[in-house]
């Protein structure tokens, strides 16, 4: 039973345009969400997070939106750069723990 889903396995975007990566979850009790970026042969690196009490968090070119009623979060990258090409994972946390469930990832390719 996949509690965290990233339904788009891949996404291609032109350099300078907006990239939107989506993530859906099923457990309404999740209280914290993170996005990680992963390059080949490297471990995932933390990108941005959001608490369930917020609906938006912004850090430079990266913004995460949370829609609790829809159990949906999205990562916006504006403007997209070729160096953003990587696999992006969303992760959701069980409340009161540091246990995370990861999605299957979306491979983003930013075309120059």
């Amino acid at each position: 039973d996949q509690q965290v889903k990233q339904n788009s396995p891949s996404l291609s975007v032109q350099e300078g345009r907006i990239s939107i990566l989506n993530c859906d979850y099923t457990n309404s009790m999740f209280d914290y969400f993170l996005w990680y970026k992963k390059y080949p042969a490297e471990g995932p690196t933390f990108l941005i997070s959001i608490s369930s009490i917020k609906d938006k968090n912004e850090d430079g070119r990266f913004t995460v939106f949370l829609n609790k009623s829809a159990k949906h979060l999205s990562l916006h990258i504006v403007p997209s750069q070729p160096g953003d090409s990587a696999v992006y994972f969303c992760a959701s946390r069980y409340p009161g723990t540091y246990k995370y469930i990861f999605g299957t990832g979306t491979r983003l390719k930013v075309l120059a």
Binding site: G43, P44, Y98, Y100, F102, T104
Partner: protein, 113 residues
């Protein structure tokens, strides 16, 4: 600040053999995780340590997998005996426990033939 170290980076073994992976977390990080990432999937938590105690090992196949974290620092993950379906990248991560962010090592790619 040094990152999470893992070794070996790659390992190829025959099925039914044994293998062990090592992880050195970031200094001072109380929480340590082992994840299994099968190709095309997201990381799946195998075991979580808080200092040297196990917090969660509900998804660890205990008939063949074992892990320990001696003195609350380094950790080893062992598979004995290995099966073909154990082929995956094994990721170690640590966190200070005061924020959600986890810091991942580069992983060990295991191939079981």
């Amino acid at each position: 600040e040094a990152g999470v170290a893992q070794s070996p980076r790659y390992k190829i073994i025959e099925k039914r053999q044994s293998v062990a992976f090592w992880c050195n977390p970031i200094s001072g990080h109380a929480t340590l995780y082992w994840y299994q990432q099968i190709l095309g999937q997201g990381p799946k938590l195998l075991i979580q340590f808080q200092n040297n105690g196990v917090v969660d090992d509900s998804q660890l196949p205990k008939d063949r997998f074992s892990a320990e974290r001696l003195k609350g620092v380094d950790s080893t993950l062992k598979i004995q005996p290995a099966k073909l379906e154990d082929s995956a990248v094994y990721l170690c991560a640590s966190s200070p426990g005061t924020s959600g962010e986890q810091f991942f090592g580069p992983g060990t790619r295991l191939t079981v033939l």
